[in-house]
Amino acid sequence: MLGPALRIAAKDLRLSLRGAQGLAQTALLGLLIIFVFSLSRKPGELVPALAASAIFWLSTLFSQVLVFNGLYALEENNGARMGLAMAPIAPQAVWLGKALAGFLLVLCCQAVFAVAVAAFLGQDAAGSLALGLGSVLVVDVGLAALGSFMGALASGKGARESLLTVVFFPLIIPVLLAGIRLLEGVILGGDGPSLEWMGIAAAFAAVFSAAALILFPYLYTGEE
């Protein structure tokens, strides 16, 4: 499964980064969200670390929805989805491949968002950067696992992308809370409750990866 998944991820990344239009649009949306939130404070007023962390993850979520909609839209035309579904590979390889591609694309966007949060919201990392990066990676794995699954749900005839957002956002609340707390810890320094939140984020990633591995073949068929 890993070989086909890597090939699908590579194909998706090539297609998504060609012209970089999709990624630029996604990063721009996230930047806009951070900028708009910065307007909620008077000039010179400090944004609390918790709020800054929440804004970072909100931008990530919106870009995540765009990224996975885009990844599944790649096979929307000319029966390409049918081709992928009929390929002699495990259907889960499609989920994993798209999750990997989405994970990397979202990570690229987050690199931009991190700088924007530091600049627009005046934040600094007092804690360990390695812990920060580790937390973001663990949370992103959970987001990608569910994002790739939900992307398949929204693909095909009769699907509504806006509906996907309505389903996706409440489902990711646990990992969102974990991400917010972890990042707040990194901004403020000190690593008190971090491990427990890391555990919740890891549990989320594990539960939804397992669920996606079992359920994805039901969702992803060649039917239009």
């Binding site: 005839k157 389903v167 919740i200």
Partner: protein
């Protein structure tokens, strides 16, 4: 059968109301407002049981590929959204005089609200006909995923902050025996009502599907 169930439910709810207003004593500090609890708790519990029923129905759809289980999941979800919505509203009505806020961050409140959002979205997906021909399977996958989220939502929300009173907690809670009887009767009465509602909606969805099948050439 549905009529009989509905009649028993009506009778049971009437009896439950006698227990709530006559049998159970007035709570000392909260006064009359505490009576909301006898409606709130059964609604919250049966709301959560509805979501469990959606999960069971969804697993059965994936396993047996039967349209009956899909309809049962749909009916349970409708009733669940209604009941948990009422639990949220009654909780808010209780919270305003007692906590002095309509809403606060609490694991149980948050979990109920998030599940309400998720299952509302599930109903929207049902209405929108997502998945086309394979709609039942797509909905079932969502029904399973949604339920897997419940413990994670609860744990993360509890870790965030909690002020909810524990009625049936490890410390034994704070219920008088009469109040305990009243709440049990209320849970049972709402339970019968729940069964009647779910059965009625399952049958209606079945009839709806049968009519659509009969007029297939018109709907396509």
């Amino acid at each position: 059968m549905t009529v009989v169930l509905a009649a028993i439910a009506a009778l049971a709810l009437a009896v439950a109301n006698w227990f709530i207003w006559v049998h159970a004593p007035l709570e000392e500090t909260m006064g009359l407002v505490q009576k909301i609890f006898y409606i709130h708790l059964p609604m919250a519990w049966w709301g959560m049981i509805s979501f469990l029923a959606v999960f069971v129905g969804s697993v059965m759809v994936l396993w047996k590929k039967s349209a009956f289980w899909d309809r049962l999941a749909g009916a349970s979800c409708e009733v669940g959204v209604l009941f948990s919505g009422l639990a949220l509203v009654t909780g808010s009505l209780w919270g305003k005089p007692i906590w002095n806020v309509w809403w606060t961050w609490d694991p149980r409140l948050t979990t109920t609200l998030i599940m309400w959002f998720v299952y509302c979205a599930y109903l929207l997906l049902r209405q929108a006909g997502v998945g086309g021909e394979r709609g039942a399977v797509v909905r079932a996958a969502l029904g399973v995923v949604a339920f897997l989220d419940v413990p994670l939502v609860f744990i993360s929300a509890r870790k965030w902050r909690s002020i909810h009173p524990t009625v049936f907690g490890q410390q034994g809670g704070g219920l008088e025996p009469e109040m305990f009887t009243a709440v049990l009767v209320s849970i049972a009465a709402v339970g019968i009502f729940w069964v009647a509602l779910v059965r009625l909606r399952t049958l209606q969805l079945g009839q709806d599907a049968a009519v659509r099948q009969a007029f297939l050439h018109r709907t396509r």
